[in-house]
Symmetry: C2
Subunit: 256 residues, 2 copies
């Protein structure tokens, strides 16, 4: 089994071996492992232990081992994981052996930044098209790509074999764009617009909402503030008593 056959000549069409169905939580962590592994490879490491890799990826080592075990991974007991092999494995499972083409719709503030973000190119993707509904933006060149009108999507999808659509439009336009993407056969969408998209079964949508992230942080911030104001007795989840609590400056180390 030490036979080390590397996965995919990307080559031709759909005949791909089936994938194990991984737990979603695992899938969400694999990219992080992959990044950490690339760092290790660049630093010259040939093998890495679960302990080392998990530290680099910011997770628990047991979790890491279980995750890797799900993809039938090849670690060596007493030694660790072969960095290069593991990179191959994960890239294969994530479908990164082919460089997928991404269409970015909405070249406003955020869209501009995304179009110029080199993290996509360096991590398995190719921004293949920029689209916008605003005629005054059409024709603009960003990072070597010319912005085209969103109505050209059908043509673009075919020309470039678009696999993933990224929506960076205002919320009001997002659903319409999503429909257009679905109509041309895109089944994976990354949505930056602050709204819920409805799409047919079989289409995957992931949402990134920057304000939501801040609001979650705000909650914890609020919570920490309300805790440090208190004398910290036994830990019962106290339910919002408007009561006394005065002190403002007595903040001290929070309990573990």
């Amino acid at each position: 089994m030490s036979q080390h056959r590397h996965p995919g000549a990307p080559g031709s069409a759909g005949a791909v071996p089936a994938l194990p169905d991984l737990p979603e939580a695992t899938v969400a962590r694999l990219p992080e492992y992959l990044r950490a592994l690339h760092n290790l490879a660049d630093a010259g490491h040939e093998t890495v232990s679960s302990e080392g890799l998990s530290a680099a990826a910011g997770v628990n080592s047991a979790k890491l081992r279980k995750d890797l075990s799900h993809l039938g991974s090849y670690g060596t007991r007493g030694v660790g994981y072969d960095v290069a092999l593991l990179i191959e494995q994960i890239e294969y499972v994530l479908g990164l052996t082919q460089r997928r083409a991404v269409a970015l719709v909405g070249v406003g503030n955020l869209g501009h930044a995304l179009a110029g973000y080199d993290g996509f190119a360096s991590r398995g993707f190719r921004i293949a098209a920029l689209l916008d509904a605003d005629p005054s933006r059409v024709g603009e060149e960003i990072n070597g790509l010319v912005v085209r009108h969103v109505d050209e999507l059908p043509a673009v999808a075919v020309e470039e074999s678009i696999a993933i659509g990224v929506i960076a439009t205002p919320a009001a336009a997002a659903q319409r764009v999503a429909d257009q993407l679905v109509a041309v056969g895109v089944t994976s969408i990354l949505n930056f617009a602050p709204c819920v998209l409805s799409v047919p079964e079989g289409v995957d949508v992931r949402k990134v909402d920057l304000a939501i992230e801040l609001q979650i942080l705000s909650f914890h911030e609020h919570r920490k503030a309300s805790l440090t104001a208190l004398p910290a007795t036994g830990g019962s989840a106290l339910t919002a008593l408007p009561g006394g609590l005065a002190a403002t400056d007595t903040q001290e180390a929070i309990g573990t």
Copy 2:
């Protein structure tokens, strides 16, 4: 309990009543509910049922009710939730009654976009400072704010009462910036750099990695492709290792 005490005159300093400790999963959904509620309010709705709100927020209605019940919410059986009241409740719990000041470090490609993103301002935050380590960027004005050098952070933190730090630097600089933020007392960080930050206990970090989102989509795309290629019989999740797979067409049966 029908007593309806509404939360916060934002007014003065830190004396805030303690918060119930909500499940993380719930906290992560509250902002979405809030956004949906604002939409409903703008559309003139005064009340909304759990069914209606859950649809607008893209979740299951039972989940929504349980989430709201955690914050001791005030719905009326047979009627639904009072939109305005619920907005107040959620904003209070999330700590949005005060407009928190955000410091954005790293005014490159992405940082520029974030600095210009009006979703922050409209949803409870104030970008109070732009910082960068590159002297050639210092002094630039973006959206009415002048970029200052990151070494001025201590002064800025005090002047603006920074509550949250956003890191939009290259990965190599991120840890250093995080340390600086922590040093000036920031306990909530939103990290856009593709790397793991280590911070002391009590500091919250949330990470947004755009490439990771795409990679997760890529997995599902890959998976869908490998499924459609097959005649779909019932079966075990076979373990797809690159190992043997000589034959390209003998693949059979993936599970549902």
